[in-house]
């Protein structure tokens, strides 16, 4: 009993994990495999758009537009430089 009290938090965590895992597996069985945009569009009744397949690394892929990554990075560098140079932030 004392072991249970000591590990009460871990038991709660484990119980939540099991319930969540069962619910997620059940939902996956019902919906099947699909990308996140498709999953949202299907859930709310919007048409599923054909997504352009980008490069992946072991199935992992980056969201957004690579050109915009560069533009945002350049803007952030300029903003940081100005903030440091002129405002000494």
């Amino acid at each position: 009993m004392s072991v249970f009290i000591e590990r009460k938090g871990l038991v709660i965590f484990g119980a939540i994990l099991i319930v969540v895992l069962i619910a997620a597996l059940a939902a996956y069985q019902m919906t099947g495999s699909m990308g996140i945009e498709d999953r949202y569009n299907t859930a709310v009744g919007l048409p599923v758009l054909q997504q352009e397949e980008g490069g992946t690394f072991f199935g992992f892929s980056a969201e957004g537009n690579p050109v915009l990554y560069l533009i945002v990075l350049c803007v952030l560098i300029i903003v940081c430089f100005v903030a440091y140079r002129y405002f000494r932030i």
Binding site: F13, E37, V44, G45, S61, E63
Partner: protein, 216 residues
């Protein structure tokens, strides 16, 4: 993890403005509190910068589970920085995400509210769990589950209240669809809970001072 992943134009202009105004009010309150009551020390600002970068980076990676899912580390933001700084962090992450084409600009306001609910609930549960256990892994793991569950509820509420333009599904059908989506999201919460638990336990082991005291 509960990010409203819909295109611009899914919500009407009215609801886009409503969610943006509420989000800006929250940000205004956070800025006011930071300037008056909860002035952050440089250490906290450094932690905030690190979690902002980490959350932004991990949010852009589509993980190949169930066809593609995201993590966003919002519970970790809540645990390490608290809800006041956390509000600003989720705003920055959502703005930068929209800037690189991940998520619509019109949905930034709604997504800030969804992510704020994750930050707030995770922070509250992490603090509340101290009465039950002192184990950091367990506290942060449970806080992550609670935060992400709250985020999913907020996401469903925002979509149901706003409605989706151009669809003919009933509210019940949309609720059913979003419930399944939320269940998949919660599956990803398992990975995020384990990850957050390990990070917080590690931080607590090597730099316990970061987790000490009341985080604002």
């Amino acid at each position: 993890m509960a990010h409203i992943h819909l295109e611009d134009g899914s919500f009407t202009l009215f609801w886009i403005l409503v969610w943006w105004i509420i989000a800006l009010c929250l940000i205004g309150i956070a800025l006011f509190l930071l300037r008056s009551k909860y002035k952050p020390d440089p250490k906290k600002i450094t932690i905030a910068a690190f979690v902002t970068a980490a959350a932004f980076a991990i949010f852009q990676v589509q993980v190949p589970i169930a066809g593609g899912v995201h993590m966003n580390l919002t519970p970790l933001i809540g645990i390490l920085t608290g809800p006041v700084i956390g509000t600003l962090i989720v705003f920055i992450v959502n703005i930068l995400s929209a800037a690189i084409g991940h998520g619509g600009w019109g949905l930034v306001g709604a997504n800030v509210l969804v992510n704020f609910s994750e930050v707030l609930v995770a922070w509250l549960v992490f603090k509340g769990m101290k009465k039950i256990t002192t184990d950091l892994f367990t506290r942060s793991g449970v806080a992550t589950f609670a935060g992400l569950f709250a985020g999913n509820l907020a996401m469903i509420a925002v979509i149901l209240v706003s409605g989706i333009q151009g669809v003919h599904q009933t509210t019940t059908q949309i609720l059913a669809g979003l419930s399944l989506l939320a269940a998949i999201n919660m599956g990803v919460a398992i990975i995020e809970a384990l990850l957050t638990g390990l990070i917080v336990a590690y931080v607590g082991k090597i730099r316990p001072d970061i987790l000490e005291g009341d985080r604002k």
